[in-house]
Structure formats: C-alpha cells, structure tokens
Symmetry: C2
Subunit: 221 residues, 2 copies
C-alpha cells in the first residue's frame, strides 16, 4: 500500500512539472485557461454551447473536452463555430497535464483569448491534477443534492468558482442553496458562487462577466 | 507511463485476490451482495432508504456505504433500522475489496441475507474493482442525460442491471429512455433495466423483486 502511495506521489510530481510547462505556454500565448469540472451530466457541455454563443465576437474562445470515449461533446460545441479538441482518455478518470498538451499544441497557434477545458465528468479525481490553468471551476447541479460539497471536499476546496446549475429544476427537487453554499464555503471561504440555468439563460450574464474578468486579470500577468 | 500501468495492473491483481477472499466469505455466510454504483447524486442513498423499508420483515438487509468523507449517507440509512457501516475512503475515488473487508467483518456475523454496498459516487473508477459481489448495479438518473452509457462504457459493460432513476423528473428534462437503453445494450446486450423513482415509488416493486430473485439465485450456489 505504501508502494502504491509513493508511486501516486510520483505521478502527481511528474504532472506538476508538465502543468508548469503548460502554464508558461499559456502565459506566453496570452491565453487564459479555465478547468471546468463536475460530476457526470451536471451540464458542462450545454453551458459551453451557451458560452460560445455569448462570447461570439467578444473574444476568441477555444475548448478542449475530456471524455473516456466518444466525441459527442466536442461535436456539440463545434457546431457553435468554436475550435474544439476532443481528448479521449481511454480508461483515465481525469485529465492530466500530459493529456492536455496535444490539445494545447493544436489550439494555442490559433491565438485564443480563452481556453476552457471541460474535464471528465467526475467529482473526485480531476481535482488532483493541475493542468496549468488560471482557475478551476466546479459545477454542481441542483439535482445532485446539497450534500455534495461535504462529500467531495477536495473538489470544492481547490475551485475558485462554484456554478450551481439547472436552477430551472429547483421547484422539482429537494435542494437547499444555502446548505450547499455554507458547506462549500466551510471548505473554501473564498469560493465564489454563481447559480445558473443554461436552459433558461438565468445566471449566464454573471458567468460571462466572470470569464471576462478572469481574462482581463490574466492579461495583466 | 508504462511503469504506472504495470503498477496499476499489480493493484488490480492484488484486489482480485482480496475480492476472491470476500466472495468465499459471502458464500459461506449465505449473504447475497450487490455493488451499487452511480455518479454523484443519482439517488443511491434515497433508493436504499426506500429499499430498507420495503424489505423490512422479508429479509435481513445490511448496507455498507462508501464516501470520501462524512457519514451522512450511513446516518440516513441507519434511521430505517438497518445495520450500516460507513467506509470513508479518504482520497480514494472508489471502493476496493480491502476497504470492504472491515465492513464485512462487522456485518457478516449479523447473519444477513442481503448486503448492498453503496459505492463512491463516480461513474468511472468503481467499475474496475471487484469486491466479491454477486452483481454490479449501475444507477443513472434521467437528469444526467442519455449519453452517459456511451461516455462511461466500462460501468455499463460490467453491470448486470441499470436502474434509471428520478423518472418523476422526466417531464422537466431532455432524456430519451430509448437512446439510453440502446446505447447501454450496445455495450452489454444482457443488461437488465428498471426505471424508477424513489420519490413517487414508481418502479420500486420490480427493483425489490429483482433483489429477491438475486438472493434466491445466490442461495442456490
């Protein structure tokens, strides 16, 4: 068991080096990078479709999408005229810096202002792996329940922003926004929160403003 | 990278041995074991609360609950008079046979007919680890979307039964039952399917019957 843990630490140290390389490349190319994470089906891809529409003509957006299999998410986003790279992880339950590198090779020469990396749908493992990003964002849908921050603490601890998604479904589910935010901020007092629905458009403006603000701050690096 | 893969294979082989030990112990004690898996918030704990109520007086049920942190799920289930062990995995994104062993030590002396192991909420990693179970069951909520079987293929390939949960929300979400079942059966032609809602009770009877049938088959081992 100790053996395994040592190997795992080695994997994370290797990843940190690859992530640092990516971070330098992102800075040099002036690209702000967001690592978007959630459990399966929280609505990452649908939000990215709406985000691509909202940012059209305002900044140059690119997307890298991690999935174990299929290119369904990339196909959906590409329809909105955004350059997209699908990363199939095979059996890996997360993206790491090495998997993101070929996507960066492909996308950075396009001169992007903002690159959003949609991670594999998993509230656990993606939180452990740096990918050279400016900010980690976790999305929690109201259908998943307000107990998730306490049950998946690392994810909420490392994220700068929590998106509470599918708020159009609030009348039909038992979800306490107050409890979810309180539990998440107990883990991470500085966590920002935006509640939204990609379906109704509620909360999309604050999300777009947040992205634009992050990009402006990244430019000042 | 090859190094890591070899270590991973070693981990899985070690786990298979521990799982085989568990399997023998489950047989000797006449306990049928179900490994219940899903993404975060699909409704495993709520279903187990309803299951505990429905099985009361019909068979001796025990539950082991895997979570990274908190004992919230175990506390919820224990209120229904069922013996429960909470397994906190620390940072592990799945249950393996070694983590289940102390729970078995605690629960098997109680003379259970059925032990349901609620795995960590994760559609990826739990599928790789045998825990000596009679059957793996995957739960997919209609709020997660019908594309999940194709995107998380191993989970649907290794499971005997797919529970499609939260069907009371079908009027409010875009979910094609036909597409989800077709994609899942493309990976696993023998996959059984039960659609249910722990909230309304729809589909609970077929689930209870399925459990009783599995237990009867396990008795004949």
């Amino acid at each position: 068991m100790t053996e395994v843990i040592r190997i795992q630490e080695g994997v994370l140290a290797d990843n940190d080096r690859a992530a640092e390389d990516l971070r330098l490349r992102f800075r040099e190319s002036g690209t702000c990078v967001v690592n978007l994470m959630s459990g399966p089906g929280a609505g990452k891809t649908t939000l990215l479709e709406r985000t691509a529409e909202a940012l059209q003509g305002r900044l140059r957006l690119g997307v890298a999408v991690g999935d174990i299999q299929t290119s369904r998410d990339a196909d959906r986003i590409a329809r909105h005229g955004v350059p997209v790279v699908q990363i199939n992880t095979g059996d890996a339950c997360h993206l790491d810096a090495r998997m993101v590198t070929p996507a960066a090779d492909h996308l950075l020469p396009l001169g992007l202002d903002l690159l959003i990396v949609e991670n594999v749908g998993n509230l656990v493992c993606p939180a452990e792996f740096e990918i050279g990003e400016d900010a980690k964002v976790v999305m929690l849908s109201v259908t998943e329940g307000a107990d998730k921050p306490a049950k998946y603490p690392l994810m909420f601890h490392v994220s700068r922003l929590m998106l509470v998604s599918k708020v159009d479904l609030l009348p039909h589910v038992d979800f306490s926004m107050e409890a979810a935010i309180a539990d998440a901020r107990a883990l991470n007092p500085d966590l920002q929160v935006i509640a939204l629905s990609a379906r109704t458009g509620e909360g999309l403006d604050p999300w777009i403003d947040w992205l634009l603000g992050l990009r402006d701050k990244a430019r000042g690096r």
